[in-house]
């Protein structure tokens, strides 16, 4: 195993463990903190894939903005930050069976693919992925339309959020 693989396995185990803790911890703030660990693990995956930009963006957006807003919201409602009810209902076995089926199905499907054996080509030293990304987002032959549609989507979501949250007298 290469050092990179060892790092990957360690980070993956931590991320998965944290992900389980997110749904199983009873204290909302703790759950949010575990979530941050999950998000951080994903940022590390981006680094391992030598996508530094995405790693930094992941940290800025998910950890620095989204998770902090979650914690902020939880803090404003601190009385209900603890969950004392049952953590699963009587249908848990059905969910477990379904998840297991999905998992085995997906693993079987993925095991059929040969592509995992081939190794990725190393990135060219001269390549400037950041510049390519930037140009790809605004080039008419690139991702211009999805980029603009994303802004429409965000404006609509923003207006929608205000509509839902605005308290009318």
């Amino acid at each position: 195993m290469t050092p990179l693989q060892i790092i990957f396995i360690i980070v993956a185990v931590i991320t998965l463990f944290a992900a389980i803790k997110v749904v199983s911890s009873r204290n909302l703030v703790h759950a949010a903190l575990w979530l941050i660990l999950v998000l951080f693990g994903i940022a590390v995956f981006f680094v391992i894939l030598s996508a530094g930009f995405f790693a930094a963006a992941q940290v800025v957006i998910y950890i620095g903005a989204i998770a902090i807003l979650m914690i902020f919201t939880i803090m404003l409602t601190r009385r209900v930050a603890r969950d004392s009810g049952a953590q699963h209902n009587s249908n848990w076995w059905a969910a477990a069976v379904l998840s297991l089926l999905l998992f085995t199905g997906l693993s079987w499907i993925l095991s059929r693919w040969q592509g995992f054996q081939s190794t990725a080509q190393p990135m060219l030293e001269s390549a400037d992925p950041l510049r390519q990304l930037g140009e790809g987002l605004v080039a008419p032959g690139g991702y211009l339309i999805p980029f603009e549609v994303a802004s429409i989507l965000l404006v609509a979501a923003l207006i929608g959020a205000i509509t839902v949250a605005w308290e009318r007298k």
């Binding site: 080039a139 211009l144 339309i145 999805p146 549609v149 609509a156």
Partner: protein, 489 residues
């Protein structure tokens, strides 16, 4: 390096979307500057604007047959009859929905309502013409997120809030699965362009079970949009809680958008495994029809009944998808044709429910007693819409059902056609039950007037005409459907 030059003719391919966006900002502008009493004019602005856009598009940007179907913006968008037909359908149903929304107390005077509806329409238009997985996913989200909010628009009403939230949860879950499918598809093929995936699957030696497994993940996302069994749970609750015009919009435009995407992705990206997915869809179709119709039988609330009926109708449309064969365009065109008729008919049905509900405040089927005496015109519109949904001649619903069943027979799926016919009979029963309440039952409210605003009369008039038009003159519509499907390839 991604580059590509900008060509002014590329604008043509997204002209409807750009115009809707402009209209949306116009609505916001008027929302700010119109005085409070005139806020209900916003609906007229939206509907009128959409009408102008439809006419403009029909005049200016009809895809020219002499020109080959073209990709625009680096293969993100495909400019073809398929997209165009569906775009017109979405614009039409958005315009009608705006007219219905106008008369509703809590939503009609809010500029945001129209803006969100228009944003969602932009998403649908892009769904119909997207030729790239990234574009497609963004289009689906642009459609869905405003719809989540529209479903929960009346925040003071617990049912509406519940509808919005339920829709959001289901939608987020299925779109995550969809995205996972897309990401696997990209991982295996190395491309996000729908029109290149098929070649790579063929030449890259990707095993059938692999592409079929990925396809199922993708279908899950679309099955949610078209509310096919087993992803139909959300529909009754959401339709019941959401404001009625929104429910109508959800059950028509949003569903048609799901089908348009399904058609393009299945036919273009996965033609190799056609026998597999058509068998899969036949199974889903049978389940969807049967479960939808059986559950509709017991409903007391008309919106829930219509929700189950719309699930059943998704099943009928899926018959067409399941009957697609390599050597014939019939199955695919029957889907498009079915959707055209279904959108118009179901909009009318929900329009009647909205017109009745806004005065009586009740959606119980029992409350419709004596409607024929209170408002004969409304009862007549309901008769036309419901009989068309049930598939009675001479209405549109009959013709399209006939075509879909014919497609099944042509594809040697006679048993499926028989199941469809049996289901139609169940359907007829519950539609007629409602009509029985409307026409035969008496109630003490009969003397109370049932005022119908002008926008409703206009919209319902247009829809009823449309239903009759499809039922009587079917050739141009069928031709349009065939032309659309042919342009896909």
């Amino acid at each position: 390096m991604i580059s590509g030059t900008f060509n002014p003719s590329m604008i043509l391919s997204i002209l409807p979307e750009i115009s809707i966006l402009v209209l949306g900002f116009l609505v916001l502008f008027f929302d700010l500057f119109l005085s409070k009493e005139h806020h209900d004019k916003l609906g007229w602005i939206t509907a009128g604007g959409l009408g102008v856009i439809i006419i403009g598009c029909l005049l200016v940007i009809r895809p020219n047959e002499s020109v080959l179907q073209t990709f625009a913006f680096g293969g993100m968008i495909r400019y073809d009859w398929m997209g165009f037909t569906f775009k017109m359908l979405f614009l039409f149903s958005a315009a009608i929905t705006a007219m219905f929304a106008m008369g509703m107390e809590k939503i009609g005077k809010r500029g945001e309502f129209y803006l969100l509806m228009l944003a969602s329409t932009i998403g649908m238009c892009l769904m119909a013409s997207a030729a790239d997985l990234i574009m497609l996913y963004l289009a689906i989200e642009t459609t869905s997120i405003p719809l989540y909010i529209l479903a929960g628009f009346i925040t003071q009403d617990e049912k509406s809030t519940e509808a919005g939230f339920k829709y959001l949860l289901f939608g987020a879950m299925t779109s995550a699965i969809l995205l996972y499918g897309f990401s696997l598809l990209y991982g295996f093929t190395g491309t996000t362009q729908i029109y290149k995936i098929s070649n790579i699957i063929q030449s890259g030696g990707i095993p059938t079970e692999l592409s079929f497994g990925v396809l199922i993940l993708v279908i899950v996302g679309f099955a949610f949009k078209i509310s096919a069994v087993p992803l139909h749970f959300w529909a009754p609750d959401v339709y019941e809680g959401a404001p009625t015009p929104v429910a109508g919009f959800l059950s028509t435009a949003s569903k048609a958008a799901g089908f348009s995407v399904l058609l393009r992705v299945l036919l273009i990206a996965f033609p190799e495994i056609l026998p597999y997915w058509s068998a899969f869809l036949v199974a889903i179709s049978t389940l969807t029809m049967t479960i939808g119709n059986l559950l509709a039988l017991t409903q007391k609330n008309i919106k829930r009944m219509l929700a189950y009926s719309s699930i059943a109708h998704a099943g009928y449309a899926l018959i067409g998808l399941g009957s697609i064969t390599y050597d014939s365009f019939f199955g695919m065109s029957s889907v498009v044709f079915y959707l055209i008729a279904y959108v118009i008919t179901n909009l009318a049905a929900f329009g009647v429910v909205a017109a009745f509900g806004r005065v009586s405040g009740s959606d119980d089927i029992a409350a419709y007693a004596g409607l024929s005496r209170r408002s004969p015109a409304l009862a007549l519109a309901m008769l036309v819409a419901f009989l068309s949904l049930a598939g009675m001649p001479p209405f549109g619903g009959f013709v399209v059902k006939f075509i879909v069943f014919a497609a099944a027979v042509q594809a040697n799926l006679i048993w499926l056609a028989v199941v469809g016919v049996l289901n139609s009979i169940i359907g007829l029963y519950y539609y007629l039950t409602v009509l029985k309440v409307v026409y035969l039952y008496r109630s003490e409210d009969e003397e109370k007037p049932l005022p119908i605003p002008r926008s409703y009369s206009l919209a319902l008039g247009v829809l009823v005409t449309g239903i009759l038009l499809i039922g009587i003159v079917m050739a141009p519509w069928l031709n349009l459907s065939i032309k659309s499907v042919v342009s896909l390839f």
